[in-house]
């Protein structure tokens, strides 16, 4: 396993795409952190988000400071998780796209081991995305909050725990990406489906399924919702859309998605003939 992990690490650092994506995530999260901190501290801002979905803005009390900082500081796992997912998926789809899967499997014919190494190797990489994405969010978010005269609460142990979980869940998202890439090794298809699902399909599902009582319980188990549950705060939840699982259940659910997708990939694309 150690040689396989070293090989995976080298595969990653010898290409450029990962740090381009990391840079994109940092900029995107810094932007979102600042903007959301500003919007949510507007007069009646806590309700502004829910105005379109639930009750009127006037009926919503402003967010308490703890919820405010938590919503801002966890924007990375709420909205930016697509970056570690894509990086994880690319670790598999790149091998099929450039047919490097051939020399990879010639050097190590045990395909489960190759996939396992990719899953494990994605965790520290995802954690790096987690650290950078979370720090970028907090940097601008806290700055704007401070300027607006709100408490930044960065000495609060609960807030720090939330930040740690934000890093943790983004690391797991990279692993989910590896599983997804194995299940859908066509690179273009994988990226299109990932973007469509994370940015469009799941938000819609959460909105519509969450609106009806019989399907409301399903929403919490959707991958994005499970991911948000890990940080215990949710951009969606604070917007009044659905409840979240306990954090550890969310984590297990997300790990489960990753392993399920990886098992699916092992039984399909990685079982098939490589030709």
């Amino acid at each position: 396993m150690i040689p396989a992990l070293r090989a995976e690490y080298r595969k990653l650092v010898t290409t450029r795409l990962w740090w381009v994506l990391l840079l994109c995530m940092a900029l995107y999260m810094a932007f979102l952190g600042g903007v959301m901190a500003f919007v949510l501290t507007q007069e009646g801002g806590g309700g502004a988000m829910t105005g379109g979905f639930g009750g009127g803005a006037d009926e919503m009390p402003p967010l308490p400071p703890e919820d405010l900082v938590r919503t801002v500081y966890t924007l990375a796992p709420a909205l930016g998780y697509v970056f570690p997912v894509i990086v994880g998926a690319l670790a598999v789809t790149n091998e099929f796209r450039h047919m490097t899967i051939t020399p990879t499997l010639l050097a190590e014919p045990r395909r489960s081991l190759v996939l396992g190494a990719k899953l494990v190797a994605s965790l520290p990489l995802g954690a790096l995305f987690g650290v950078v994405g979370t720090l970028a969010t907090v940097a601008t978010g806290a700055l704007v909050l401070a300027v607006r005269g709100e408490p930044v609460l960065l000495d609060d142990p609960d807030v720090l725990l939330t930040l740690a979980r934000s890093v943790l869940v983004l690391a797991v998202w990279a692993m989910v990406g590896v599983g997804f890439g194995a299940a859908m090794p066509n690179q273009v298809a994988a990226i299109v489906v990932l973007l469509a699902f994370t940015q469009f399909v799941e938000p819609l599902l959460r909105l519509f399924l969450g609106a009806f009582e019989p399907t409301e319980g399903i929403v919490r188990w959707l991958p994005g919702a499970a991911g948000e549950a890990v940080t215990g705060a949710s951009f969606y939840a604070s917007s009044g859309i659905g409840n979240l699982l306990p954090w550890w259940q969310g984590l297990l659910a997300l790990v489960g998605y990753g392993l399920l997708l990886a098992a699916l990939g092992r039984a399909t694309s990685l079982r098939r003939d490589i030709s």
Binding site: K11, T15, H98, T102, P103, A107, P109
Partner: protein, 332 residues
């Protein structure tokens, strides 16, 4: 060392892709210390066979082993078999050295080995360049470097001469000869016999997934000798002529009688046959010299070119080994 060490054995190997039988009950053996050409037209099943040998494609039936073991059963297989399958399996953004460094941990060699093999194939100066900017010839060299990482006993190269200029082909030829001289087993596929003709010791020729010929190159060359076809209405005269030509005057000549009134003589000049006919007073209606080159023979064997009456002809008299023709000569 066991008797199978360094041997590649393909045993009743078949692969079906849906309705297509890509490889059909194929058996052959490749020996160490020799360069073996694995030949056949495009689509004959060469790459599929090699991929089954390397555990990338699972056979429908049959086995393929290296040193008596399936590829997937060999621990650290890159130390036993080095394989390069297509010139395209590189990430274009990686440098040549990085391509090798990515593989080195699993091959089980130190990083210094990467520079060693780059030097062996003459890519030292290009080590830090991205593979995306490489010519096909440079990619072939990098593929070859990849196969050498684990210093394996057996080398499997799929179309390694593709995209090489004449200089590159000459280099490859010398390189493969050198590897075989070190006692390694070298299996090289190609769809053009002439490309590897001066490199290989043995040939395995397949067409439509089936074996059509396996022998040393020398034996194949013997099938490809010049032939002279003579036709005469005088059957007895023809026999006298054949006896005169085959018996003594030109030793080594072989004869076949594909149809009444026609004789095909191998290893003689048309002029000698004509002179013999004149001396014997035999009326000739046809006297034709046909130069069957190796490439022609290859194309006929693989069914790419229809056999034209003259030998060699698949399953016809022409492909019979010389010994058979000699038997006929005795009968004649």
């Amino acid at each position: 060392m066991t008797t199978t060490d360094g041997h590649v054995v393909v045993d009743h190997l078949s692969k079906r892709f849906g309705a297509v039988l890509a490889v059909d009950d194929l058996s052959f053996e490749v020996r160490p210390g020799r360069v073996t050409g694995f030949l056949g037209p495009n689509g004959a099943g060469k790459t599929t066979t090699l991929r089954m040998l390397l555990g990338l494609v699972s056979p429908t039936s049959g086995t393929a082993t290296v040193s008596g073991r399936r590829y997937t059963d060999i621990p650290r297989p890159a130390h036993v078999v080095g394989a390069a399958l297509e010139a395209a399996s590189f990430h274009p953004g990686r440098s040549a050295r990085d391509h090798l460094r990515v593989l080195a941990p699993q091959v089980g060699v130190p990083d210094s080995r990467c520079d060693e093999v780059l030097a062996l194939v003459g890519l030292t100066d290009a080590a830090d360049r991205r593979v995306g900017g490489f010519s096909l010839g440079m990619r072939q060299r990098l593929g070859l470097a990849t196969t050498l990482l684990g210093d394996p006993r057996v080398l499997v190269l799929d179309e390694p001469a593709n995209g090489l200029d004449p200089e590159g082909i000459a280099w490859l030829r010398a390189f493969l000869r050198h590897l075989a001289a070190e006692g390694r087993t070298v299996l090289v596929s190609s769809h053009v016999l002439s490309e590897v003709q001066q490199t290989v010791d043995d040939v395995v020729i397949i067409a439509r997934g089936r074996l059509v010929h396996a022998s040393s190159l020398a034996e194949l060359a013997r099938l490809a000798r010049r032939t002279v076809r003579v036709a005469s209405p005088d059957q007895d005269g023809l026999r006298r002529l054949v006896e005169r030509v085959a018996g003594g005057s030109t030793p080594g000549a072989a004869v076949s009688l594909p149809e009444p009134g026609v004789a095909v003589l191998e290893g003689v000049e048309a002029a000698a046959v004509g002179a013999a006919a004149f001396a014997a007073g035999v009326e000739l209606h046809e006297l034709a010299s046909r130069d069957v080159g190796l490439e022609d023979l290859f194309l006929q064997l693989t069914g790419e070119r229809a056999a034209s009456g003259a030998p060699p002809e698949p399953d016809g008299p022409g492909t019979r080994p010389v010994a058979d023709a000699a038997t006929e000569r005795g009968a004649a």
